[in-house]
Symmetry: C2
Subunit: 588 residues, 2 copies
């Protein structure tokens, strides 16, 4: 009980801050009307007619007729996808009006386990971004098929669930539920034993009975519907639908367009970002961009705001704390334009002003990182050009190999058979046919694995690129036209303890460093975007057409994404979940 | 994790029960469409197209084109107001489609404390009514002004909150919040320390800053708005609004009519009953009657159903468990007509069929009551006619007294000054002026208090009536035209260990017995309604015009209801919370 808050609400003490002269976007009643907000400390004391709360020492912000909305909530976001440290991420998210996120920090967990996640959450305490922890259900996603740094089991998940900021379980995979994985079942039970907790699904390919089974098992939200009918099926079956729009999957307009054709109840729909590329964050925005897209599909303004505030809070049973402008709620408030060219002008998070008419008022210092987050790359064996060589069958001059090609707009891979030459017993790539070497080098110091395969679709003509970001194990992924540059690239990534590099002729041409877990940078979003531009340009100059090649590359390692993947354990047939040999025959 | 449920949902095992051929009322998507429901055990496995779940041993119910709705939820109900044992209450509630209730069992607590409440909850286990416990915040309401059997404090409240069926705190009184009562503040803090818990307000007279203060203190629902503007103010301020319609306050149509004039979001509106008289339960119904009233005001059918299902579940963060038809939800299902002459035809609760086309399939046996619930009336001193005599000031022949008059439609009292005769030093009532004796006799065996005052509005012409039901202390309330009949009536109530009696000329004319805590009967609702008819008829024959006189009388004891009350401690001025003397002067 905050006695001062109650006194301010009751008119017995002056508010710290009053916003007045705005159009109040009331997500509870579904109205927009003239009014203001009175704040005591980090909490809202009153809304509407709030002059009574103005007294000695009350700071007043004139909204100037602009709209006053609740702070935005991203109910499913992996901040690591931005490659920004959590403090830099908080800055860019807050700048665009996001005041709360629900995140599993899964990528951090893959590198350093729960201890590393807790260190990142601790770093976030210095910011004004309100972070709820949704405990990862699978670290790594495919323990039989990849080597990770951190590993979760039910005991660790229970420990994580006991944190006061934990609100549920994240990314429960449909196929694993159907298979009845005992660890997952136990984790779901442990999660739902605490009332208020929820289980977030990862159900991209579930429908009909398989979807029903996942929901019956306890999943209550999903962010993986790709089109309107999938969204509607989830909605009808009691699943809160998180409509996703992100740098790798731009499907929001399609889903909303379909849903707007029916007069469906929208109270169980929210919008989420999932993965946000740093350049998109800087140049498009975060939840404000999703609102713009939603408005362009014809969604009414009040419903668009509800979908990034109240509805998202409800999906986690957090609407008593956040998601609306009302007495007792966290003082998360945006001052925005109306639906025309929607823009967030000012931001208040937890009662503190963050953005003033477009000008940032906060600048979080880089954290002194906990040791668990640093120096996370360690090779068990030296990496040389020989590390990447694939031996052909004895005496073969040519071999038939299975190449995985990425689609150009989404990192889904398809098979292609090609014939490659063998020289000195080693299978050679073929740039003319767009067949490159790809490998993943185990970097957690555990076993020195090097998985190898052949990759198409990136159309790189020379050199090699390597990165310490690779789902869902974050070993070093390397793609190259020759073994020597690949070795230089991998060794450079390890030398700088994480990052993404472009190498040609043995020289580092461009690079961006991720010293935190090999995943994140302490640069600001704006600075990192410029660095990424340089790296991307260096790759594009070498022939690749893919706009964000390293983000695509990071998903080529994901043994859960159809149809093929490369991990430190080898070339993966995702559909059969088997490690296979890319060399499938000897040619005459 | 219910493995069989997941198997049925996934099409791997046959359902126990399938309802098909109905119009599915989907509260999530806001649609009504053709479909069915498949059930495994006590839980829904699938909805919509459910033929795939039919297999060997599956029982099939043909809905025959009728509507299939979720079971109804009453988010705020005191079952004790029906004077039915919890099992009889469960029968009549289930018969009308109510499958879940949220209740504080406050009246039981007033008599026997938490132990008695727990005994009643245990009795309910034998029924199919799903009961969530909302812990009473004040037992009794006015500890300084009345004597109760049970008494709650924060320690007891914490113990109650630890129960697995506890979901929050009930009836936090606005004025007590504003006064900052330390016990209440501590109880609210203890409640909200558990995520998912909510604090239900009792805020009849809060508005503007006082309402804001209560909400800032943590209240998230209220059921005491009496009209449309009060409802809208609560809705706008983030408070879930429970629109109430009950035997003592019929305000639903007024509130809904007002709200329907605006295009307000309805997702935070539910309908509740609060107090339900047994005769109303039998002759009007329960939540089905509220739906009929709502439909008559013009509320769309789907929204009316949402307000007694999903919305109510959401107010308690229970929508993962109940409130809709979806895989994983409790199998609480009604088969109903459409909105025309809305009627519940069949009921399934927790997968078990309760009602089949109007025919009840269950008949819960009377419980073997725990000792804490029985023999609860004990007088410290014998009660005789002298017990009720009020002495006039020495030598006075006439006195001026302050009479409280009840309004005829709601048990709110107003003051009236009258002159009464004094005979043998004792002030005499005056039937001609409609001034009767009223008294409350302490019956918990604690102090033998007898509080005395004068009552108008009941227009009883002869005899006396007494009852062991009297909010918020459940001492014996007695109203009479003469002292002798009053003593007989009180002694009879105590002799039978609870009930309501009508006495004239020293004889019991009519009575109904409440052996459980002096509050509840083991009769069925239908049987009790007939008994109540007889008692009411006996009172009406003696001149009273009030339709449900004993329910009114029970509220005359409530030291929280304006403007006056009688408790065992005396005549209460509710507005000043003082005990006052009804004799205010001596007449010449």
């Amino acid at each position: 009980m905050d006695a001062r808050l109650v006194a301010v609400a009751g008119g017995q003490a002056p508010a710290d801050l009053v916003i007045k002269g705005g159009k109040l976007v009331n997500v509870y009643s579904g109205e927009i009307y003239d009014g203001g907000v009175a704040i005591a400390g980090d909490t809202i004391a009153a809304i509407g007619e709030v002059d009574y709360a103005i007294g000695e020492g009350t700071r007043i912000i004139d909204a100037g007729g602009d709209f006053i909305t609740p702070g935005f909530i991203d109910g499913h976001i992996h901040p690591e996808s931005s490659n920004l440290s959590i403090r830099s991420f908080a800055e860019i998210a807050l700048k665009h009006g996001t005041t709360s996120i629900m995140t599993d920090l899964h990528e951090i967990g893959v590198v350093g386990g729960l201890e590393a996640i807790e260190a990142v959450i601790a770093e976030n305490q210095a910011t004004d971004l309100n972070l709820y922890f949704v405990v990862p259900s699978h670290v790594p996603f495919s323990p039989m098929l990849e080597t990770s740094g951190g590993e979760f089991n039910t005991e660790i998940i229970k420990r994580a669930l006991a944190r006061p900021d934990a609100v549920g379980l994240s990314e429960a995979v449909g196929h694993y539920i159907l298979a009845g994985f005992p660890d997952l079942m136990a984790s779901i039970d442990a999660t739902l034993a605490v009332r208020g907790n929820t289980v977030q699904g990862h159900l991209p390919d579930m429908e009909g009975p398989t979807l029903n089974a996942c929901l019956a098992a306890g999943v209550s939200t999903d962010h993986e519907a790709l089109d309107g009918p999938q969204s509607l099926e989830r909605l009808r079956n009691g699943c809160h639908v998180m409509l996703r729009e992100n740098s790798a999957a731009r499907t929001l307009a399609v889903q909303l367009g379909y849903l707007l054709e029916g007069d469906y109840d929208s109270s169980r729909l929210s919008m989420v970002c999932d993965d946000l590329h740093c350049c998109d964050a800087v140049r498009r925005g975060h939840m404000d961009e999703l609102i713009r897209i939603a408005l362009a599909t014809g969604l009414p303004f009040i419903k668009a705001i509800q979908m990034v505030t109240l509805n998202a809070a409800r999906a986690f049973n957090l609407d008593q704390s956040i998601g609306g402008l009302a007495p007792g709620k966290r003082a998360d408030i945006n001052i925005t334009t109306g639906p025309e060219a929607f823009t967030v002008k000012s931001v208040i998070s937890g009662g503190k002003q963050i953005l003033d008419n477009g000008e940032m008022l906060v600048d979080y210092p880089a954290a002194e990182h906990d040791a668990v987050l640093l120096d996370t790359l360690s090779l068990l064996n030296p990496i040389t050009a020989d590390s990447f060589k694939m031996a052909a069958p004895e005496g073969a001059a040519k071999v038939k190999v299975l190449v995985m090609d990425t689609l150009p707009w989404i990192p889904i891979t398809t098979p292609r058979e090609v014939v490659l030459e063998v020289i000195d017993g080693v299978v050679k790539c073929d740039v003319e046919q767009d067949v490159l070497y790809i490998a993943q080098v185990e970097r957690h110091g555990k076993n020195g694995n090097v998985g190898k395969a052949f990759m198409g679709g990136f159309t790189l003509k020379s050199g090699a690129i390597a990165s310490s970001v690779g789902h869902d194990n974050h070993n070093v992924i390397v793609l190259g036209t020759n073994f020597e540059d690949m070795a230089v690239a991998v060794n450079r990534v390890v030398e700088v303890q994480g990052g993404q590099v472009v190498v040609e002729g043995g020289q580092v041409i461009a690079e961006v460093l991720y010293p935190i877990c090999g995943l994140l940078s302490d640069l600001s979003a704006e600075e990192l975007a410029l660095e990424k531009d340089k790296v991307n340009a260096a790759i594009h100059e070498r022939g690749s057409q893919i706009p964000i090649p390293f983000m695509f590359l990071s998903f080529i390692c994901l043994a859960a994404l159809p149809n093929f993947a490369i991990t430190d354990k080898g070339f993966i047939d995702v559909m059969t979940q088997q490690i296979i040999d890319p060399i499938i025959g000897v040619e005459a």
